[in-house]
Symmetry: C2
Subunit: 454 residues, 2 copies
Amino acid sequence: MSESAVKNNTTDERLASLDEALESGRMRRLKPMLHALNPAEIGLLLESIPRAKRELVWGLIPDEDRGETLLHVNDEVRVELINALDGDSLLAATEGMPIDDLADLIEDLPEQVTREVLHSMDVDNRERLKAVLSYAPDSAGGLMNNDTVTVRPDVSLDVVSRYLRQRGSLPDDTDALFVVSRYGRYVGILSLAKLATLDPERDVSEIMRTDIDALPVDMPAAQVAKRFQDLDLISAPVVDSEQRLLGRITIDDVVDVIRDEAEHSIMTMAGLDEEEDVFAPIARSARRRAVWLGTNLATAFLASEVVSLFSNTLSQVVALAVLMPIVASMGGIGGSQTLTLMIRGLSLGQIGFSNARTLLFKELAVALLNGLLWGVVVGGVAVLWFHSLALGLIMAAALVINQLNAAITGVAIPLAMKKMGIDPALAGSVVLTTFTDVIGFASFLGLGTLFLLH
Amino acid sequence: MSESAVKNNTTDERLASLDEALESGRMRRLKPMLHALNPAEIGLLLESIPRAKRELVWGLIPDEDRGETLLHVNDEVRVELINALDGDSLLAATEGMPIDDLADLIEDLPEQVTREVLHSMDVDNRERLKAVLSYAPDSAGGLMNNDTVTVRPDVSLDVVSRYLRQRGSLPDDTDALFVVSRYGRYVGILSLAKLATLDPERDVSEIMRTDIDALPVDMPAAQVAKRFQDLDLISAPVVDSEQRLLGRITIDDVVDVIRDEAEHSIMTMAGLDEEEDVFAPIARSARRRAVWLGTNLATAFLASEVVSLFSNTLSQVVALAVLMPIVASMGGIGGSQTLTLMIRGLSLGQIGFSNARTLLFKELAVALLNGLLWGVVVGGVAVLWFHSLALGLIMAAALVINQLNAAITGVAIPLAMKKMGIDPALAGSVVLTTFTDVIGFASFLGLGTLFLLH
């Protein structure tokens, strides 16, 4: 299986040989390498190479792969790639794409091209595309494809079979037909598996599944994803408020939602945008990250303010300056563990206001145990290092106080942010470390001022 | 649609009313509430309630929902729930479960129950289960179901149709039949959609798809997930090293892999285990998190060591003690942005050793720009606050140095960990902040010692 061996190469190896071909200018070697890849792999590759070389590689991709490739790159790279093509190439790239995919792409196309794309479609498809575009992209309507094949409940399987043969084909990924009433209302699902195995004389109404609820067209994408995961669905019908069938959602589109959601949390927690190009222009990246650094700076100054209240103490007992980062840092780590647990629990629906109290008690108990354990260690080290029992006791006490503080803020901040309608992943960690720094410095230096000054 | 209204209730609302019913001891109200939920929702609910109440609710779940519910909870809760059931109830819970799901569950069952489960199965299913159990859980073999329906390439569609009618049913989620040669080797896929729409006189070999490569049985689960996402697959055949068909993987099992991978990164970055019960016993949670806190403590002491080198400076210029947390903190934030970008890029395959140099230059440039911007701000504030131009310049310089350091370590640490075969999400942030703290303190206090001491 030499072809599969090629496919199993890591991206890194592929990148290396592509890089080599690009450097040496051997375009003839490059083309077959690119043709062996599928659109998802081409997309990943384009995201992985610096912008300067990206346009060159993009020019070598065959038209028929370009449309789908655009679906597999992040928003920023997509806009860049679209801008690199002229109208005719874009028109060629979008030819024959499924309606739901085209709908995802069309908002990024230049207006002139959009008009031409619409113009080149037949009336049916144009109407379908317009229908999909009328729904929010992050709703069931935005995810759905409206190429459903429907049958009526009062016909026999044999009639259905003859209808399908006459039709001659079914849309991609069709594993079931939808059963609709005379008024277009969704009543059930007829799987192709049942159609193929059961007695042709039986009626559709006898064997269709009616236990799968249709998704309302305005259901948020996140809820659609949850429904698919909970019920292990492969496809599901979408209806309007009057239960009229509008289309279907297949799981391949839902998988993208699931992955994007998880990535969103990781990136947001670091103040990054998941649609950002890794090789975005330096000025643009710097501008975006500056906001996050600036926010952190404001909170860092707040912590410094607190430290400066104890300037007199610090000038007399330098050991406090040496040890003060430890209490703050341990609070930050403990708090970020609670915070991460909360952010994940809230997004899974595991944690809400009703069980938060129980969780807070548990986190406080965990913080107390760990505060005592590491308080003894830290205090012991401080005693040995600076030969002061009082310093050791102060440090242990401050560590316990700050671990408890970390547990409380770790539970409270995401709940408060949720109540205010803010994504808890966003800025949660900056707010948390503000609390753990301020309380950490204040408790340690405050106790030091009380008990160590003479 | 009152039933769908119930279903659309948020978990939080459901938890609240469940809590109320539990508190008031009104079991009669509880039961219908639980019966309205599907196994995934029951699983989430069980994860969301404290351990004391969990067993009570678990006792009210009907036998037929229990097996699937166990699949929807994390490892820790699963073991707890299994231990709460006796052998007969466990046997009843596992009855009729699909082989691949049963295989996931069986390793957690008591040995006695496992033997009884195997005993209660017919020979065919027992052999199938044993076959699935012989593969690693995180490989294609562990994910697959071996209830495939196969046909031969040299028969007509009509023959296939008659065979299926004789069979009378197909396994769940079957959207295609697999075409195998006389020796059991995989040769292609016949979708039910084609079977239903094309001329019955045509041969299977004419219309089957041969462009979908079978997955090797030992392919890692992560790679299986990537292949499904790249090619938008719904199901895929699994073969042994001789291309003999062993089973099929359906996308619903792959979705779990995709979600688990994303969760793994988030939790690992905070030193947590994604299979941990949110309401785990306090001692167990504390013990686990202690390791992470202890690791951080060791690195925090390292930073303190560095600070202590400048004790003399600190006792003379207290302003340095006040301002030193800022430089360290800004380095930590900048570095964690680069680190997050790297961890995500590495796991997506966007970043590798071949393009790391380009990325490093970009990150250094971004760090320089932001270092200069916030250096001027920070320096300005320091000058106004402490009326010392030298202090402002030192602070600005230290901030630039530490941002550059953060960019370098943010790129280098995950690459180094990957080279050593360690998950970059694990401990990456602890190692990073060690560098940003040490270099941050050293550069700021070092410059202070050089230029501010008299």
